[in-house]
Symmetry: C2
Subunit: 440 residues, 2 copies
Amino acid sequence: MSDQKKSVYKPKSISGFPEWLPEFRAVEQQWLDHLRRAFESYGYCSIETPAVEELNVLGAKGEVDKEIYVLERLHKDENEKSSEARLALHFDQTVPLARYVAQHFSELTFPFKRYQMQKVWRGERPQLGRMREFYQCDIDVIHVDNLPIAFDAEMPAVIYEALTALDIGRIQIRISNRKILLGLLEALHVTDPVAVTRAVDKLEKIGEASVRELLSTEAGLNDAAMDAVLQLAGTKGDAQALRGITSQNETMQEGLAELTFVMNALKHLPAGAAIADLSIVRGLDYYTGTVYETALLDVPEFQGSVCSGGRYDDLAGNYISKHLPGVGISIGFSRLFDILKAKGHIKPGRKCPTDVLVILPSEDLRPMAAQTASALRKRGLNVELYHAPQKVGKQIEYADKKGISYVWFPPFEDGKTHEVKNITTGTQESADPQSWLPAT
Amino acid sequence: MSDQKKSVYKPKSISGFPEWLPEFRAVEQQWLDHLRRAFESYGYCSIETPAVEELNVLGAKGEVDKEIYVLERLHKDENEKSSEARLALHFDQTVPLARYVAQHFSELTFPFKRYQMQKVWRGERPQLGRMREFYQCDIDVIHVDNLPIAFDAEMPAVIYEALTALDIGRIQIRISNRKILLGLLEALHVTDPVAVTRAVDKLEKIGEASVRELLSTEAGLNDAAMDAVLQLAGTKGDAQALRGITSQNETMQEGLAELTFVMNALKHLPAGAAIADLSIVRGLDYYTGTVYETALLDVPEFQGSVCSGGRYDDLAGNYISKHLPGVGISIGFSRLFDILKAKGHIKPGRKCPTDVLVILPSEDLRPMAAQTASALRKRGLNVELYHAPQKVGKQIEYADKKGISYVWFPPFEDGKTHEVKNITTGTQESADPQSWLPAT
């Protein structure tokens, strides 16, 4: 290698840490804007927590240890305090929310309705739709002591608004209440309800025959109990469908009443957008009542739930001696975006936000051209002034390459008018920078 | 401790990792929106890079090693590949930009104008305005081989729009061109120009007498050379002020011509918003021409530059065998926000984005009240429906506590009309959910 030529370190993508070209980042940003709009339209406030938490705080959950990324300084100062707490990147937004609410408890107003759209990190083995760095978009409502059931009904309403603002076809939010199945298991004197919910959770994935197998071998259910469980899990429909279920005890009755309330409150949604589906149980023991999953009906390549959550009894018991029940739902944003992009369901957006490129006729005319650009900008348009007085053809070529729809010609000579050309249609006409607007 | 009482881990703030209450997060978000709006109005596209880079990529710069946070998995799989590259959190957005442009070179359109508003991490000792996690808001333009000087003039124009959209008083962008001073040092046969720029960079901080001391002891300048350097560094004003400088060689001449171009292109800004100031040299050797710093004129507590940058000859030489000159500027967003907040210059915003709270008269009337909320939402308003049929006084109290300006009374009985109350003024009047708008 000659002296002339520097050695270069050719960078490559880091597996599991996606980044997009500007034309896809534009879509991602638009999607995030739509979600934010929907969340705020229901009064949810934004919070943002640091990327890190103390390992002690994350450790309180104790499950996902293996996936946690810990931070280490590359070189520590010799005299640095070793007493500093170890820090780790957060792996979800629920633990940070719990910590935030506990820490700022006296300064928050309850019921506390917040949304949070941040990246989270998990050291999992990357594959399509499973990343090491990804966006989650969460809403939760937290209250003190008692949280009204109305919020359980609000979650699907917000999510319906949020997800239908994205161009991803029909969605179906599937709703259940864990108290119904748990009440039945109580009535059946089932000794290992967790094994049952774990098996039922697999219904869609492995089918009824395999679930029966699990219910028998893992949970020790007899045929009658199995029939009862599977009949219950087979219940799907609106509030009406729930009437066929006979409540065996108070727990079941409570669950049925809550789910009926939620379904009735969602009647305004289009048919099929939100259904009661008692096969939904969610894996986590964490949930104590309402649970949600969401399917994309028009994207067969997208398996599983795009948006899940539920009601939990006690959010922050590890960090504060207050009883703080909550209900929340989380959109697996990057997973959705990644899969839909890979399967060709996302059309690239604009390479730049520019609406109009103002042509620079000559260096002499720069002040006038700059003034034109500035006048258009003041009226809310995104405008670039071409950077050098090159041939007009070359300037138009730049607009074309960047996907800029309009090219603006300020007067090249005294007495001439401004003209604007629509690159897509080819039409060109006189226009006034003080009043012109692009066709929408 | 009794069995009843769980032990709690009382969480506290992590030094250097700020987070805000909702009312300040609302202001932060609004500020970020304003900056984005200004960047896009000039045609800059958004990109977002992962929080991490390979340590090899960051290492290419070799300066800030001590501040770098490296990622380690808490528990590694036994059979995990040890060949995976070590990852570290990025400490700025320039290295990631260089890597991004090199990696996606063939898919980008040049000149490439991008903005980037992300958090970056540095393991520094925290103090007011110096954090371990903070937002930077950057714009840069990168071109192949030659980057027109017009972009050097665009940076201050964009930054003026961006920063004046925030409520922080008058700003002053101070602009120089390193070629002028370096040309003079060439003419003076100064052997250690870096020592000179390092000394001149301290003018505002330590004063002329101390700088003279440094120029003599550290850079070995004689009195005549010192006078020449300090006279040059004392030049401040508009393009006119530059005419007093006698160019000694081609380098100086180039620098003067470039700076004159930039200042002339900024004539449309209010007097004093952008000035030529030859005492600005920037510490980094990295910059090769235009350099910027920005002062807040109305906030004496804010020391130093809120927004700095300049022209660099070769962005991505470490990663690609292309000559990619660029010019960029970076707003130290969190530093600005942190200091202004601490000094009481930022008024808290709204605790929630809700414009209107719809009163829930009774459980029976929930569907009607929900419909009212929905009608208002469809018209672009942010609306909460109160969650339970409590006393009206209690519902109004909630609106008051959350800073919601309007309370909406749907008809409590058949035949009555809707009414809306402005909590601030106390006025209450009939209103139609299909047409009512809040006073602005």
